[in-house]
């Protein structure tokens, strides 16, 4: 099992290209002709009302299922049809909207599972795991069972676990959902730090203030289609975007 790190994307290049991606479930178009590009080292905010197809898009991008139409290119390489484990090995990793801790394993073991994508040695994996847990400030909780953690720590654990796979790009799916203000601030700080360290991120979030703070660009989806794309200020004051959110409380 190859644990070697793949070639890194060139700084400033288009690390992720989503081209006319559509995803159909029976007759329902969960994603419809979505196109956008993410530049290496930036943060893309992905917003839209519930059911807009944001998580579906993540699933298509990371290989959970293939897009029905269109192409996903990561570092210039076609990703359609690649399974999630290969996607992760190539350097793109995601977190889940509903957290998925490996419940009966400890915090440390959870992150080690991520680390083992890049090494076959438990000792090395353990070190990597400790590092990442330090990054999310959970290094003191290593022996807790993941299933018994409160929601804030589960979210942080999932990030640490994803980071342990040494990705270049991280897709965060509503990582601030259910957190209090202090916890959200911690996550925002973490996201900004990750950007400083060179990671590329796509962040699905409902908290508009948070999205405004972190995003370099924003894409808004509605009913599976891309509604708007551009600088945060532009998108958030876009009439269609506001209309799409009416009927939903805007934070």
């Amino acid at each position: 099992m190859s644990t070697a790190l793949p070639e890194k994307a060139v700084a400033g290049s288009n690390i992720l290209e989503v081209k006319h991606v559509s995803k159909f479930f029976g007759g329902l178009a969960a994603n419809s002709d979505v196109t956008f590009t993410v530049k290496q080292g930036t943060i893309l905010g992905l917003i839209g009302p519930n059911g807009a197809g944001k998580t579906t898009l993540f699933n298509c991008i990371t290989g959970y299922y293939p897009p029905s139409r269109g192409e996903v290119l990561f570092k210039g390489q076609l990703m359609n049809g690649l399974p999630p484990d290969k996607v992760a090995k190539l350097g793109m990793v995601r977190t889940w909207q509903k957290v998925r801790p490996l419940a009966k394993m400890t915090v440390l073991d959870n992150v080690m599972v991520g680390a083992l994508a890049r090494t076959n040695h438990l000792g090395v994996a353990r070190e990597i795991a400790h590092e990442q847990l330090k990054v999310v400030r959970m290094d003191h909780r290593t022996d807790r069972l993941a299933g018994g953690l409160p929601i804030g720590e589960r979210k942080k654990l999932e990030i640490a676990r994803a980071l342990a796979t040494k990705p270049e790009m991280v897709l965060l799916d509503e990582v601030m959902g259910g957190l209090n203000t202090a916890e959200k601030d911690e996550i925002i700080q973490l996201i900004l730090d990750l950007k400083k360290r060179g990671f590329t991120q796509v962040v699905i979030e409902h908290d508009m203030k948070a999205i405004m703070r972190i995003s370099d660009r924003i894409v808004c989806l509605n009913s599976g289609e891309k509604l708007a794309e551009g600088e945060p200020r532009e998108v958030v004051s876009n009439k269609d975007v506001i209309t799409a959110y009416l009927g939903e409380a805007i934070e």
Partner: protein, 352 residues
């Protein structure tokens, strides 16, 4: 969910205890036949070892990786039948015939894995049962190969001859001693399987297997090739199950589709693990220590009731101790509050 109280730090040196204890137990078992001469006692221990081997083997796939196969009898049967057929029809010595049996079980495992691993949860269980039944029906109907329902009877075990010298001839041994070679073979194999389980748990395999068990999709997204690792777990599990089947055939001297390929056999393996505690190294040992004496004790007094007992045990364990005896004990142990730390009211989080 109530926030659990902080665990007391694990004292150093505790890890050495199990090894010391294990070594002591092993030493006792190694010399037991010198003191205990009763063939019936040897027999009980052999059954115990067999149960441990079958349980530990199943544990790799079912306990660690979370793939509950209730059709492991297929591998048991392959091991038993290949060894016996080679011996009975082609006079291949069992210590040689064992290896083709294991190889064939690996091939069979790969085929079965390819078919069934795309299925999840209960569907996987159903498929595993169906596969084992197919094997049983093949064994029942392919009379030229397997003697069908009549089964294969071992006339006598050939002597172990190495370089012209006869090292071991079980058929020439007096009845009181004839079980002893099986005792040591069983003990040795049980130690090996336990060691394999330990090695798995303390390696990348263990981490990946358990990740698959806990959440397949999450594991997949973390770089784990589900198909590869599930099949790896299956291969390890199948190989040792087949070995157990081979051992069983040679020891009891008679196999038929009914005692090697039925769902009863498969359920037994699962039972040994869940009684003791799934996904632990010693769980199957505990399970064997419950199941074997119970079933033997009942057989002596009540005849063919062990299947009924298995059924009752399964029901009781699932209802009241789904984590097995070891899991139950662990729950009792961690419920005790930390001696020095103040008791935090439930719901508050202890901030570091």
């Amino acid at each position: 969910m109530r926030t659990p109280l902080p665990l007391p730090p694990k004292p150093r040196g505790v890890a050495a205890m199990p090894l010391v204890l294990g070594g002591a137990v092993l030493a006792v078992l190694a010399v037991l036949p010198l003191f205990e001469k009763s063939p019936y006692t040897h027999h009980i221990f052999i059954l115990l070892f067999l149960a441990i081997i079958m349980g530990e083997a199943w544990n790799v796939l079912g306990g660690y990786t979370g793939q509950y196969s209730v059709g492991h009898a297929a591998y048991f049967g392959v091991g038993a039948y290949v060894t016996m057929i080679l011996l009975d029809k082609h006079q291949v010595a069992p210590w040689l015939g064992l290896w083709p049996a294991i190889v064939l079980s690996l091939v069979v495992a790969l085929v079965i894995g390819a078919i069934t691993f795309r299925l999840r949860g209960p569907y996987f269980v159903l498929a595993s049962i169906a596969v084992a039944e197919i094997f049983r029906l093949i064994a029942l109907n392919w009379k030229d190969l397997t003697n069908g329902a009549e089964g294969i009877l071992l006339v006598s075990l050939p002597p172990l001859v190495v370089g012209g010298k006869t090292l071991l001839d079980v058929s020439a041994m007096p009845a009181e001693q004839a079980k002893i070679p099986f005792y040591y073979a069983g003990l040795g194999l049980a130690v090996v399987v336990i060691a394999v389980n330990w090695a798995v748990q303390h390696s990348k395999l263990g981490y990946y297997f358990q990740a698959i068990r806990e959440d397949q999709d999450a594991a997949h997204s973390l770089g784990i090739n589900l198909s590869f690792w599930k099949n790896l777990a299956l291969l390890i599990s199948a190989a040792f199950t087949a070995w157990a089947g081979s051992f069983y055939a040679l020891y009891t001297g008679f196999i038929d589709p009914n005692n090697t390929l039925t769902t009863d056999v498969s359920v037994q393996m699962v039972l040994i693990c869940i009684i003791g505690g799934i996904g632990t190294i010693l769980g199957p040992v505990v399970g064997a220590l419950v199941v074997v004496p119970l079933s033997e004790g009942l057989r002596a007094n009540f005849g063919q009731v062990h299947a009924l007992v298995y059924g009752i045990l399964v029901v009781l364990v699932i209802l009241f101790m789904p984590d097995g005896i070891l899991g139950f004990v662990k729950k009792l142990a961690t419920r005790r509050p930390a001696p020095a730390a103040p008791t935090a009211p439930p719901g508050t989080e202890v901030k570091a």
